[in-house]
């Protein structure tokens, strides 16, 4: 209401104590312990997958039949798999693919979603209505079903995989960004700009997008988490990268049959890796949302 501000009592922000926005956000983020742990986990896995192979080098291309399905030992810390690859080395090797595909697909989905949502929200009217029905239609087809249909038609390469994952997961971020754009375009500073003759382009580029950044970053973080998870499903659905290359999801699904034979070291490490990384990105997203004070996904 009009005058509620006049009587915000007791705690009205005094100019002197208002810390800068970024510093406050960082402090809020650091106070969320789960988010900080999540950040640590992500840093660990990035080092593990990209720096790890330099220190702990293993042969991941040749089949070594003399050392298949060995349990963890001094020589192979996490044992070996059905074709004799060192499991720890494979975890690094597969992690690279999982992380790269997950990050790229998550970012791609966020970019598509941002453009679509911002356009729909800013245009409004029937354009918005049509664009959002398209999003509804996309959401109505469960992602796993589309992926399985695609897997029946073709086996994509890594770029293709990123494209497919990006193209099926931009819908949720587009909704979030649209909602944000709808509020922002009616904010007083945008109205003022329009009234004094500012262009639409200026309104979008200088005001609406910069002010949506926190929403977009938070959405992207959750999107990456979901994409990494989706990558894990993709191999299970038969769409994954082809051997000898692999990813965590691929390791997990090939290890599943072995699990019944008691080869636990073939499923527990990749399973834990997926859970930890996805968990970490979710925790970071949660922390960022608190830090930026963004509403949205719970």
């Amino acid at each position: 209401m009009s005058s509620s501000l006049a009587s915000v009592d007791g705690l009205a922000a005094k100019p002197a104590q208002a810390a800068s926005g970024t510093r406050l956000a960082v402090r809020r983020f650091l106070r969320n312990r789960l988010a900080v742990v999540g950040l640590g986990v992500v840093v660990f896995f990035v080092l593990f997958c990209f720096v790890g192979p330099l220190i702990y080098s293993t042969d991941q291309t040749h089949t070594l039949l003399q050392q298949v399905n060995q349990s963890p030992s001094g020589a192979h810390w996490l044992g070996t798999d059905a074709v004799g690859h060192d499991e720890l080395g494979r975890l690094m090797y597969g992690g690279k693919v999982s992380l790269i595909v997950g990050l790229s697909a998550g970012v791609l989905a966020t970019v598509i979603g941002t453009l679509w949502g911002a356009a729909a929200g800013y245009a409004g009217g029937w354009v918005d209505a049509v664009m959002m029905r398209v999003v509804d239609a996309g959401i109505a087809i469960p992602a796993l079903f589309i992926l399985l249909v695609v897997s029946a038609i073709t086996t994509p390469d890594l770029t293709g995989l990123v494209l497919i994952l990006g193209l099926i997961s931009w819908l949720v971020p587009s909704r979030l960004v649209r909602a944000e754009t709808l509020t922002l375009k009616n904010r007083d500073f945008v109205l003022t700009l329009r009234a004094i003759g500012g262009t639409h382009a200026r309104a979008i580029i200088r005001h609406i997008l910069p002010n949506s950044v926190s929403t977009i970053i938070v959405a992207a973080t959750f999107q990456v988490a979901d994409a990494i998870l989706l990558v894990a499903y993709v191999s299970y659905l038969g769409l994954g990268v082809q051997p000898p290359s692999t990813d965590w999801g691929g390791m997990l699904s090939t290890g599943m049959t072995a699990a019944y034979s008691g080869y636990w070291w073939l499923i527990v490490p990749p399973g834990l890796a997926i859970i930890l990384v996805v968990w970490a990105f979710n925790a970071i997203g949660d922390g960022l949302r608190d830090a930026f004070d963004v509403r949205g996904r719970a």
Partner: protein, 319 residues
Amino acid sequence: MSTYSFLIRRVLQALAVVLLVTVVVFCLLHALPGGPARGILGPQATASQITAFNHEQGLDKPLPVQYVYYLNQLIHGDLGMSYTLNEPVSQLITERLPKTLLLTVLSAVVGLLVAVPLGVWQAVRRNKPVDYVITTLSFIAYSTPVYFLGLILVLVFSQVLPWFPAQAPQGNSVLAVLSQPQGLVLPVVAGAATMVAVFSRYMRSATLENLTEDYVRTARAGGSRPRAILTRHVFRNSLTPVVAMLGYYVPVLFGGALVVEQLFNYPGMGLLFWTAAQSSDYPVLLGCVLVISIATVTGTLLADVLQRVIDPRVKAGRS
């Protein structure tokens, strides 16, 4: 807005969405190697057979014309024939859909029954150890691929502790499935886990938000006890947005059913879909996508109607 015009509007919207889905499926059909002709004649058909068929069926006509043909077929319930099972797709789906619905509805109900109290509990004990533990657990549950979770459930509760069967109940009817409830336990738990994770988070934040609302202060100023405020006011107000989220969650539920059915060999649509994918049985695949999408749209519609029932403001056309 009256209930009547609301329903009409909402159903029209849903129809528009379904129509868009048919466009997507139609495009997929034409993206297939060999196009729809191979879809109907089967993988063994020769090139000349395909050309002849295309001409006969008007498949050499412009795409928009073909789309109208396709729609016409759909309206008559014709989804084509399965290559491998040699049965009409519509019949296959009619047989299996109820069982999938049973699984998803059970998972959703169990999921909500666990998630809602959990979320409220977390909100009340905000930033206490309980809250952190449940938050961590629900993030973990959310982060676990359903097939991995299912595998662990089977290993623990079927192999190590022989409490439940590793395979879901078989049978052609819903009743047959229901007659072996112990076989449903693990599939339902696997299907409900993600839902518990997601909805306990929703419920937690909705409750937290409502606890800071002015009406809570008004109720306290009137002498209402904290517990009464929680049960009489905050709970209902927090549940409303959560019900709205339910609509968005329907596709995820069906996606989960796909994996769970495959994992536990549950004879529903997910399993049908899965086997069809292995054998490139396109008519079945596309038929299932269409039906699942319609089920999703219907589920979303029901969630909207439900929200309207419990929130008088939505009924009045405000929110």
